[in-house]
Amino acid sequence: MATELQVLALLVVLVAFVVTLLVRRRRPTPLRPIDAYKVAPTLAAASIEAGQPLHIGLGGIGPGENDTVLALVAAEVAYYTSLPATVGDVSPIYTTSQTEMIPLAVDTLQRAYNARHMLEGYHPVNVRWYPSGQRALAYAGAVSTLPGDDRLASNVLIGRFGPELALMLDASERYNVPSIAYSTELTGQAVAYALADHALIGDEVYNAGAYLSGRANLTNRSLTLDLLRWVLVFVMFVLFLINLIQQAGG
């Protein structure tokens, strides 16, 4: 690694570290409303009422890869979304296309049941691996069959999806299954915005814990992110001014 890049990386990590330590509020702070997070808690209720499973698709991400952090955040979304559904007769279904995501998904579903002292209702068969294939279409094809085959109550898709997300969301629409979608890829985000009932854009998914749990430490994460975003804007503005002055001087 080039030394300049190393120093810059260390500096960024250091600033993020300091801001993280500074933001330590004991009470949750108010957050701006996001439609998907307003709807998410109602999905479990609808699943219990209809006796139909809630599906959480975690395609294309897994710990140990580039998307490790997103995998952890997606597991957090899965945990808080399916937590109320664990008291129902039908268990939520988790699907993944990466084998390394299976242990994390199994643990997340088990933790959700354990948190409600309903461990007897937990069954590992509700975490399913659908291999992604060469173009991630096999996973999309398999998930497209779920609204009909497993009579889903709702569809939450969080992962690394490209245009194939359209197939999954189209299947949801055909069976009148409400959907929430997020993709790390820009094409996937555009598809989610157009086709999903509620889409999460950019870094909104990273704040899921704060919205869905209301816990102070997770709200602090959102606050840290907002602060760092302003720091970044300020740095970019200063660099722009320096550039402008240099050009005027030269």
Binding site: G64, L72, A75, E164, A166, D170, L186, R221
Partner: protein, 213 residues
């Protein structure tokens, strides 16, 4: 306050492993004393990364077991006939692939000639799903962001038309794609990168325990 020993153990392992890997990967040569201090850590980091690769490879076995177990259960207790049929087809393909691999390891009938063909037809279907999506956007309550989204989509579609009459407009289309669309995309990607950094750091220093509490 009662603190469970399991949580303390998880947190200790995560913080120690996370910090060691972070230091080992971030601090390279050419940073003077810092590099000298990080030298022993880099060996541990390399070992941890190798361990991750091994664990990830092992999860493939878990995946195969999961596939078999899930679909045998679904075949017996599926919620619908179509669910049972899907699982049956999957299990048959699994057994067939295994048998073919044992007897004719060089055969690619199932993969190249069957799966790739099916995936290609699915890829063709994406186009229709996207057109349907565009129509669905029009059916929804029109908001300013949706209007902007539709306008952007129309501009990109019109720009892609190979009409000579549109040639004078191509610099405007190029500017639109490079400047506002590029800036928006960069903004989204910067946001994701920042969020990844913050969440990763909070997990490493034990502020967020996403691994169970």
């Amino acid at each position: 306050m009662r603190v469970r020993s399991g949580v303390v153990l998880y947190a200790t392992i995560v913080i120690a492993t996370g910090l060691l890997t972070l230091v080992g990967l971030l601090v390279g040569d050419g940073l003077g004393l810092l590099s000298q201090l990080a030298e022993p850590v880099r060996g541990v980091t390399a070992l941890l990364v190798r361990l991750v690769v091994l664990v990830v490879a092992f999860t493939l076995l878990i995946g195969v077991f999961n596939l078999f177990y899930v679909h045998v259960t679904r075949l017996v207790r599926g919620r619908s006939l179509s669910a049972r049929l899907t699982s049956m087809v999957l299990l048959l393909s699994f057994v067939l692939a295994l048998v073919l691999w044992v007897y004719t390891p060089e055969s690619r009938v199932l993969l190249q000639e069957t799966q790739v063909a099916i995936e290609s037809s699915l890829a063709a279907l994406i186009c229709f799903a996207l057109v349907f999506g565009a129509l669905r956007v029009l059916r929804r309550r029109l908001t300013w962001p949706l209007l902007l989204f539709l306008l952007g989509m129309l501009v990109v579609l019109v720009a892609a038309l190979p009409l000579p009459a549109l040639a004078p407009l191509s610099p405007i289309f190029d500017w639109l794609v490079t400047v506002p669309v590029g800036a928006g995309a960069r903004g989204i990607l910067l946001g994701i990168a920042l969020a990844t950094l913050v969440v990763g750091l909070r997990v490493v220093i034990g502020q967020d325990r996403t691994y169970g509490d």
